[in-house]
């Protein structure tokens, strides 16, 4: 990396908040996904002005840059694939303002998702989006990925709960998209910024919407002998006009992995377990939970039980939220898919997932947001065995194709990043992607802001494409004169 750039970075954020020591950089080569590439420098800005100064330095010296929150992303969004500068939001972690009357809060991007709800709990409010990693992931990353969570079924995803963002554009300007009101005049730029995976700029302040805590929440656990029965129950619950706050399913394998860790009381011999959260006023919660229980029993549930207290509720949900990590007990690595299908197609897609696992000789566990039709097959493999890596990636691609073939999507909440970009063609036609490219150029004409994420490369979907080291900038982003570092 150019010494001139390092100097600029140091003057932008302070000497001690820049590191280019190769040893330090090794720890910034990964996130929660399977890709890896080390940046050439990591900076820790304290505010929007410092972020803007870093961005301007990078743009002027033609160096790629990527923002990073907690590094819990599952699609490689925060991987510095082409080296360059990694902009950590670790120092931007203040909750700046809480406005209880208007139910909003203003926070910095490095604030941990769960800390927002914790900070407003005594006001009877909460920040609804609750990805499973909420105890660690940051709101900046949630905005970039348009993170979902367990309660999107009833409450929506991140973009439904963010009112505005102050961003640093790739031009190094600080602008507001949206604000603290519920509506903004003009184009909904905030709407496209959320979920843009860090390719349109870097959020430096985020105005979030707060929601009253429900008066009561009951959690219901239903045990089925087969995934088919549980899937049918999911459809029947929705068909009965019930939208539970959350509706989650786990198959036998994931139940066993979780149970080994949390002891949440999941029967490990069940074919599938359904967890439903019902929230609202006391008067309706019991009635609705009973209705869900009836549907489950009618569809063959061998056991339906209501969590008797808050401790049991927490244990059940902690179990569910631990699903991904708990896979570590089964295999050294796992590759998590994030496809979405119309929920009525669950049984046939799950059967196909099982067949795909058999075809590649890989163990695949399933946990999913059944209410949304958002499936998370967890493909177990060993990253130390190259053939298994290839097989896992190919199996993942087959699963995504199966989702798209049924009118679904290749990602419900984890994002495209590096991991799924070569499968974008499966879901979108060239003209669809062309419009997305036009939008990207509006914000990020030089392409240096989180380069090459989300858009397909020349590889095919499922071709072994794991990023394990720094790559050269693709044509069109690299300056004609050759790389700057």
């Amino acid at each position: 990396m150019q010494e001139a750039l390092i100097q600029r970075l140091r003057s932008a954020v302070g000497h001690e908040h820049v590191t280019a020591r190769p040893d330090d950089l090794r720890n910034y080569a990964y996130d929660g996904s399977i890709d890896r590439a080390a940046p050439e420098a990591v900076v820790f800005p304290a505010d929007a002005a410092q972020v803007a100064a870093v961005v301007r330095a990078c743009e002027e010296l033609r160096c790629p840059y990527v923002a990073r929150g907690a590094g819990t992303g599952l699609s490689g969004g925060a991987i510095a694939e082409f080296g360059g500068v990694l902009i950590s939001t670790a120092r931007m972690r203040r909750i700046l303002d809480i406005d209880a009357a208007n139910r909003t809060a203003l926070v910095e991007p490095g604030v941990v998702n769960a800390h927002i709800s914790a900070a407003v709990a005594t006001l009877g409010l909460r920040f609804v989006p609750d990805p499973s990693s909420q105890s660690a992931c940051t709101i900046g990353g949630n905005v970039a990925e348009n993170a979902g969570g367990l309660h999107c079924l009833a409450y929506g995803v991140t973009s439904n709960h963010v009112l505005g963002c102050e961003i640093v554009t790739p031009q190094g300007e600080i602008v507001w998209l949206g604000g603290r009101e519920n509506e903004t005049a003009g184009y909904d730029l905030l709407g496209v910024f959320i979920g843009s995976e860090g390719t349109l700029g870097i959020a430096t302040k985020i105005a979030v919407k707060l929601t009253p805590q429900p008066e009561t929440t009951r959690t219901l656990l239903a045990v089925f002998d087969s995934v088919d029965d549980a899937s049918k129950a999911v459809s029947d619950i929705i068909a009965a006009g019930i939208i539970p706050a959350a509706l989650e399913m786990m198959d036998r394998l994931s139940t066993q992995a979780i149970e080994a860790y949390v002891h949440a009381g999941f029967p490990t011999d069940a074919g599938a377990i359904l967890i439903a959260d019902v929230d609202g006023l006391q008067e309706s919660v019991g009635e609705t939970a009973a209705a869900i229980g009836d549907v489950c029993r009618r569809d063959g549930a061998r056991e339906v039980r209501l969590a008797k207290d808050e401790a049991e509720r927490e244990r059940i949900w902690r179990g569910r939220k631990s699903a991904f990590g708990a896979m570590g007990r089964f295999s050294p690595s796992y590759y998590v898919q994030d496809g979405v299908i119309p929920r009525t197609k669950l049984p046939e897609v799950l059967a196909e997932v099982e067949a795909i696992g058999r075809r590649y000789g890989l163990l695949i566990a399933n946990v999913f947001h059944a209410g949304d039709g958002n499936i998370h097959p967890l493909i177990a493999f060993d990253e130390k065995v190259p053939a298994q890596v290839d097989a896992a990636i190919a199996a993942g691609a087959d699963i995504l194709r199966a989702c798209v073939a049924r009118g679904g999507s290749i990602s419900g909440e984890h994002g495209i990043g590096i991991e799924k970009r070569d499968c974008m063609n499966v879901q979108y036609a060239p003209s669809d992607l062309a419009l997305m490219a036009k939008l990207k150029a509006v914000f990020n004409p030089g392409g240096l802001c989180n380069p090459a994420k989300m858009f397909p490369t020349s590889r095919r979907c499922g071709e072994s494409a794991r990023t394990l080291q720094r790559a050269d900038l693709p044509e069109g982003i690299a300056p004609a004169a050759g790389p700057a570092f």
């Binding site: 009357a101 208007n102 139910r103 009877g124 990925e145 602008v175 507001w176 998209l177 604000g179 009101e181 519920n182 509506e183 903004t184 005049a185 003009g186 184009y187 909904d188 730029l189 709407g191 959320i194 843009s196 009253p212 459809s235 929705i238 068909a239 006009g241 019930i242 609202g280 006023l281 008067e283 009635e287 609705t288 979405v340 119309p342 929920r343 009525t344 947001h369 949304d372 039709g373 679904g408 999507s409 290749i410 990602s411 419900g412 909440e413 984890h414 994002g415 495209i416 799924k420 974008m424 879901q427 979108y428 003209s431 669809d432 062309a434 419009l435 997305m436 036009k438 939008l439 509006v442």
Partner: protein, 451 residues
């Protein structure tokens, strides 16, 4: 500016036959301005071909649904062609168990709702002009109603869409399923873009089950502040009503089925729409009653509370929804505006709006922070009106509230260019317009900042 002789060529290029007869075209006028050509494409591809050909002729094109928003100021200076989207209609796919429906943009909102209701579902939005308005028009104009308090805004319930662009291409973005983050969320750009980026051809929406039961609660307050406070307190409580609207006396009189308005000095009407199980509704009503009484007691003023049955509240909502985005333009109208503010500022917004004159009426969605202001002036539509309205808008801006003009007669509307909110990233918006519609084909000059 378009040369009419090209119309025949256009037909050759696009395979579509435009209407050219002035009397026919007059039925598609916008803001009193009659187009020279009217195309009625049947699908996204046809629409794209037409627009592309028109663009090469340098034409200005307005995309039109049912024409219910045609009086939005400023009026167009001239229109070469109208793209009438009402033929892109009908339900493409509806899977009740998946809670999704895909419809042509020209589908009438009311037709969609009937089809959904037959399956015990609905699209949770209560726009104005619900009877004749089209889905595409409602989305393009971002005509949210008060139900967004409980069910989310329009933008939150749009999952995917096909659009036709001025370069002749069509593009799909978003998805047909309830959740997707694959690629940019471009459908959000088209919600509220008023047809300036491209034409929405079809759209996939997230629908909701109809509530088990509904009811209404009407609280009439002596004073404005406690009414607003009660609305805020309810919104911050776990009672989760479906919608809250607040009416001044004039606005209240227009909600005929709720008794025709106010009496005994109770000048402010707060309407809460409740939904859920019967038990939940009883609790909501009880909790809200308590909050309303506490708010008025704290302000040492009175409140009167009345429960309204399901049929009555649903009937009343037809009137209430019209008040939101504005009753259709009539010769007696000076202007309709929407003021966006923090919810806690609604009382101040309403007070300021009512100081515009005796013929002003206000309807607010206080939990969301929107206030709709209608200025009517039967006798004195004067040339002074635009400057008065501008002054009001400027005063609002100074408080951090933004004002959108929704309708006005052409002679006033031509002076009402969209106000530019202080913090709006207008440079990015211009770039966006230039990227999506480089020739400025779609409705030039009438959007925010003259886009």
């Amino acid at each position: 500016m378009l040369n009419l002789p090209f119309a025949a060529d256009l037909r050759k290029h696009t395979g579509s036959r435009p209407r050219v007869r002035p009397d026919e075209c007059a039925r598609y006028s916008v803001g009193g301005c009659t187009p020279k050509l009217v195309f009625s494409p049947h699908n996204a591809r046809e629409a794209a071909r037409i627009v592309s050909a028109l663009r090469q002729e340098g034409a200005a094109v307005i995309i039109r649904g049912a024409g219910t928003a045609q009086w939005r100021p400023p009026p167009p200076v001239s229109i070469d062609a109208v793209l009438d989207m009402t033929r892109c209609d009908g339900i493409v796919e509806y899977a009740p168990a998946d809670l999704t429906v895909t419809v042509g943009a020209g589908t009438k909102f009311s037709d969609l709702q009937s089809a959904l209701r037959a399956q015990g579902q609905f699209f949770p939005c209560d726009p104005s002009h619900a009877a004749e308005g089209t889905i595409g028009g409602i989305l393009s104009g971002r005509r949210d109603g008060a139900l967004r308090q409980r069910f989310g805004a329009l933008r939150d319930n749009v999952l995917g869409m096909h659009v036709s662009l001025s370069d002749g291409s069509t593009a799909f973005s978003g998805a047909r399923v309830v959740k997707s983050v694959a690629g940019y969320d471009i459908p959000k750009l088209f919600v509220g873009a008023r047809g300036t980026l491209g034409a929405i051809a079809d759209v996939t929406l997230k629908v909701a089950p109809l509530p088990q039961a509904e009811a209404g609660l009407v609280a009439t307050f002596e004073r404005l502040e406690p009414a607003c406070q009660a609305a805020l307190d309810v919104a911050s409580s776990p009672l989760f009503p479906s919608a809250t609207t607040l009416h001044d006396a004039r606005s209240a009189h227009r909600v005929r089925s709720l008794g025709g308005g106010l009496h005994d000095g109770h000048a402010w009407m707060l309407v809460l729409r409740l939904g859920g199980t019967r038990g939940a509704i009883a609790r909501q009503a009880d909790g809200i009653t308590r909050i309303c009484k506490a708010a008025s007691a704290a302000a040492a003023s009175g409140v009167r509370i009345e429960m309204v049955a399901q049929a009555q509240v649903q009937h009343a909502w037809a009137d209430i929804a019209e008040l939101a985005c504005g009753a259709a333009y009539s010769p007696a109208t000076v202007a309709g505006m929407k003021v966006i503010s923090q919810p806690s500022h609604v009382a101040a917004v309403m007070a300021r709006a009512l100081s515009l004159g005796p013929d002003t009426e206000c309807t607010a969605h206080p939990a969301v922070g929107l206030t709709f202001v209608h200025v009517r002036a039967d006798a004195h539509v004067s040339t002074a009106a635009p400057s008065g309205l501008r002054a009001f808008a400027n005063a609002c801006e100074a408080h951090g509230w933004s004002v959108e003009f929704l309708f006005a007669p052409p002679q006033i509307g031509e002076h009402l260019l969209p106000a530019l909110p202080l913090r709006a990233p207008i440079a990015l918006m211009r770039k966006l317009k230039a990227a999506f519609d480089p020739s400025g084909t779609f409705d030039p000059g009438r959007f925010l900042g003259g886009i």
